[in-house]
């Protein structure tokens, strides 16, 4: 224990013998670590928003459908079990949130224009917190109950259709016999969403109204349940599976949207690659510094060896010196990263590239996300790889022949 304390003190003092070099190296490590964590927080923030938006546009962490529905989202592929019966089961199971709905393709027509849309027949009381709709920002009103006779459409859709709150539109879709089912609706509200495509695509109506329109009785096409964290949907998934029979399929959100699921996985890989790349760029400087430090001290290391210090102690001393350097650099880098991310937590406006971000599936405000596991990953990777990078110069120093080292002239 005593040896360790001596080595630690030696390493600490050696570190500050050439303070300029140490400061430059510290600056390099700090900038590197800062960049690792900062960039990671930005990308994680972006992916987080994408997934959150994507999940809320689906929406639902776990979804139940007829086995053919995903391939053929048609009114014929209804969930075989009756809605009231299933809903009662879901209500009793105590989910964070759940809802049943009808989701079918439809055509919406105003006096002037037609557009293809996705028609959602919902129970507004169940969907309150489920959708991407910003309830604070609605012109007119949202649906009141599942028998509501009005429709709520997106602002952008209203603009292209040349319609507004209070005006009438016609919705056409097909019933299970492939007869055209159409009906006039009054637009009761316009919603805004953070992506234009959502405002263009979705049309909300009362579930019962739509069931009547499409003559499907007490049936729905989709049942969804939400947990509290999209990264961990297994508990919800298992609970849902127990509630349904095998006439339906149950999917997690990342199976329904493979792009988002992949993004999430790719990003975790990206974080590791980024951290390793930065470290490698740093490692040249680190090894260089250690090589210089050893080189300057050849004679004194020889002397210590001659006086009976064990080679392993020399090895330890150099490695401790390197680790001290890394730990201080890491500490500064971490503090810098946290300090620079904190003021950005209210969101970075990147609306200049809004449409590009929408193409990637992300909204135009970026919220950096500092995740503990990413910070720990960066720190651990730097320490472990740093240890291995310092082995070679340290090993070389411990192998000096005392006589040669003492008599070396530079």
């Amino acid at each position: 224990m005593n040896t360790l304390r001596v080595l630690l003190m030696l390493a600490w003092r050696n570190l500050w013998r050439n303070h300029r070099r140490t400061f430059i190296m510290l600056a390099a490590i700090s900038v590197g670590v800062w960049a690792m964590i900062f960039m990671t927080a930005l990308t994680q923030g972006m992916v987080n928003e994408m997934v959150k938006d994507g999940v809320s546009a689906l929406p639902g962490h776990v979804q139940v459908h007829h086995p053919n529905y995903r391939d053929d989202p048609n009114i014929n592929n209804l969930i075989p079990m009756a809605d009231t019966e299933l809903s009662a089961k879901f209500a009793a199971a105590g989910f964070e949130q759940w809802a049943s709905r009808i989701k079918v393709p439809a055509v919406i027509t105003s006096e002037r224009e037609s557009r293809g849309v996705t028609l959602l027949g919902i129970d507004p009381n169940r969907e309150r917190d489920l959708t991407f709709v910003d309830y604070e920002d609605i012109d007119g009103r949202f649906l009141e109950d599942e028998a509501d006779k009005g429709v709520v459409i997106g602002r952008k859709l209203a603009e292209t259709l040349d319609t507004d709150v209070g005006k009438r539109i016609v919705i056409m879709s097909q019933d299970p016999k492939n007869d055209i089912a159409d009906r006039g609706f009054r637009v009761v509200g316009l919603f805004g969403a953070n992506m234009q495509s959502l405002e263009e695509t979705y049309v909300f109506a009362g579930k019962q109204t739509i069931q009547k329109l499409l003559s499907v009785g007490d049936h729905v096409t989709e049942l969804v349940a939400m947990g509290d964290d999209y990264r961990n949907v297994e508990p919800v998934y298992e609970k849902v599976v127990k509630l349904v029979d095998d006439s339906v399929v149950v999917n997690r959100w990342f199976e329904l949207d493979s792009y988002l699921g992949t993004m999430l996985r790719v990003m975790d890989g990206f974080v590791l690659i980024w951290v390793v790349v930065i470290f490698l760029a740093l490692s040249f400087g680190l090894v260089n510094t250690l090589v210089m430090a050893v080189f300057e001290r050849v004679r004194e290391i020889g002397l210590m060896l001659a006086l009976g210090m064990k080679p392993s102690s020399i090895l330890g001393q150099i490695i401790i010196e390197s680790m001290l350097l890394l730990v201080i650099g890491l500490a500064i880098g971490n503090v810098l990263a946290v300090a620079s991310i904190a003021p950005l937590n209210s969101g970075i406006d990147i609306s200049i590239v809004a449409e590009g971000m929408e193409m990637m599936g992300s909204a135009s405000v970026l919220y950096p996300q500092l995740r503990m596991e990413d910070v720990i990953l960066a720190n651990v990777v730097v320490l472990i790889l740093g240890f291995f990078a310092s082995l070679s110069p340290a090993w070389r120093a411990s192998r000096f022949q005392p006589i040669e080292a003492i008599t070396r002239v530079d």
């Binding site: 190296m25 224009e113 293809g116 292209t160 040249f284 260089n288 590239v353 449409e355």
Partner: protein, 409 residues
Amino acid sequence: MNIILRLAWRNIWRQPRRTWLTAGAMVFSNVLLVFMMSFQFGMYSLMIDNSLQALTGHMQVQAPGYVDDQRMRQTVADVGDLSRSLREQLASDTIAARAQAFVLASSDERSYGIAIIGVEPHFEQKVSNISGLVSKGRFLSENDAAEIVVGAVLARNLRVNIGDELTILGSGVDGSFAAAVVTVIGIFDSGVPDLDRTLAEIPLGLFNDVFYMEGAGHHVVVNAPTVDFAPALQAELEALLPEDADLVVHDWDRLLPGLKQAIQADLSSSFFMYGVLAILVAFSVLNTQLMSVLERTHEFGIVMALGLKPGRLGRLVMLETVMIGLLGAVIGALLGSILTWYFSFSGFQIPGMEEMAIQFNLPARLYPQVTALSLLLGPGIVFVFSLLAAVYPALRLRWLQPVDAMRAA
């Protein structure tokens, strides 16, 4: 050989390991930069080409406002005549007229809302690759035939095959009821889910009759030989448009604003990363050069006492940095292009690339190409950062007092 040059060259090899470690940091960054930039620039141009060649084209002549709202009544009058006269005046046949509507398409079993485009069969093949992507049946040929070509996913969802009939229901340009029965003659498979699921094409003549267009359409697509020639062609095109007609020309960036922005967003985040790499290399250089200057304080004191100007010593230090920098740039660029060259044959695939590739109209496997820009830009940036880092050690020499310096150990 110049004496300063020789001196610098010898100086950097006094500590070969340090020189190699410094150059190594540059080589590492440069290999990475050359490869990544070749990969990215190649990917961007593919993204642009693939996204534009399906429908958008390089530019379109439209009525003002159509680009934002795509309303049925925002028409271009006598669109067929316009496209014909443009083809003649520009002596190009990569120009075609179109009209577009949203309808409910019904087969025997299914109904879906889709976008339907009226095209000039003969010229459409020159501006869009959809005719080449017809995997079953054939593309449209006559301008008035009651025929339709549909996307593969749409065909599957509607449960139709070649020879089956589809009923289309919508509204005409005047708001009146429009309907037609058409025969499926072709199914295209573009690999772009949005197109395959929601798009169908019919001949422009038929479109004109069904939707009561009276010769009007919605846009004329104009393609340049490659996207680089588009701006010049656009200027020429704008001059040709009749003065009294209320028409505008939009380039692809205006028609598909997400594309350039997605590229910009990706580019700016990558340049942040490249910048960080360059800064880390700069620190490495700063460290090395400062050490090498401090080590030589004694020797610098002597040469200054012998009459050498501090300015010349500063140039010596800069020259040494240039040499190490060139070493790193040349080796890095060389290894980087070898790496890229290897992948330009074997292709490169990122795990998870497939899903992302579909999102951005890209093939799942990419073949990066070394270009002058991708080869020089990265090493150039690293080189400049290295030189900047050496400025401080070089400037320090100006304050060096020969007598004090000689006393230094």
